[in-house]
Amino acid sequence: AQSVSQHNHHVILSEAASLELGCNYSYGGTVNLFWYVQYPGQHLQLLLKYFSGDPLVKGIKGFEAEFIKSKFSFNLRKPSVQWSDTAEYFCAVTKNRDDKIIFGKGTRLHILP
């Protein structure tokens, strides 16, 4: 079965620390990859996406992610986190020409001021 794995369920960091959240998927072939963020009490919104081209993708708020095809990974990074980055982060995958977007189980990020 197709799946998306986020290995870190809960991450606690201090402000200014560097962040890397892992995401692995199990699809073969061409995929589109996404990171969504859900701030406390809010709806999900797109952080960044990868369809093709440069495997290093830059998103909003200083986030970036790197697609490594050989590792089936799309890890999210930020060099220096802020308290306002406290949120739930979801990795998601869809195969080309497929409406079904599969989400990982999310990683809760808590930034200490």
Partner: protein, 114 residues
């Protein structure tokens, strides 16, 4: 203007009741979805409609019935509510364009079944 709007935002009801959640999008998208987010924040797709036609129907009890009167609306009706139905239900929409795949979410409807 809210792009994807859901009503109500909060719903508290007794087991066995029937309830509906409405969703409207003003983005001109062709595809709309219902997702369920459980207490552990796990997001699972329930239904997907493209231009009023059902295209994804995951393993969801038939107590859940989506209805799409037009491509801008996708409502969710739930019969005989059970405790396990308590969750946040998110409506979403996307362009019918496989090169984007980006979802635009509503703010969620928190359903509590007592």
């Amino acid at each position: 203007d809210t792009a994807v709007s859901q009503t109500p935002k909060y719903l508290v009801t007794q087991m066995g009741n029937d309830k509906s959640i409405k969703c409207e999008q003003n983005l001109g998208h062709d595809t709309m979805y219902w997702y369920k987010q459980d207490s552990k924040k796990f997001l699972k797709i329930m239904f997907s409609y493209n231009n009023k036609e059902l295209i994804i129907n995951e393993t969801v009890p038939n107590r859940f019935s989506p209805k799409s009167p037009d491509k801008a609306h996708l409502n969710l009706h739930i019969n005989s509510l059970e405790l396990g139905d308590s969750a946040v239900y998110f409506c979403a929409s996307s362009i019918r364009d496989f090169d984007t795949g980006e979802l635009f979410f509503g703010e969620g409807s928190r359903l509590t079944v007592l």
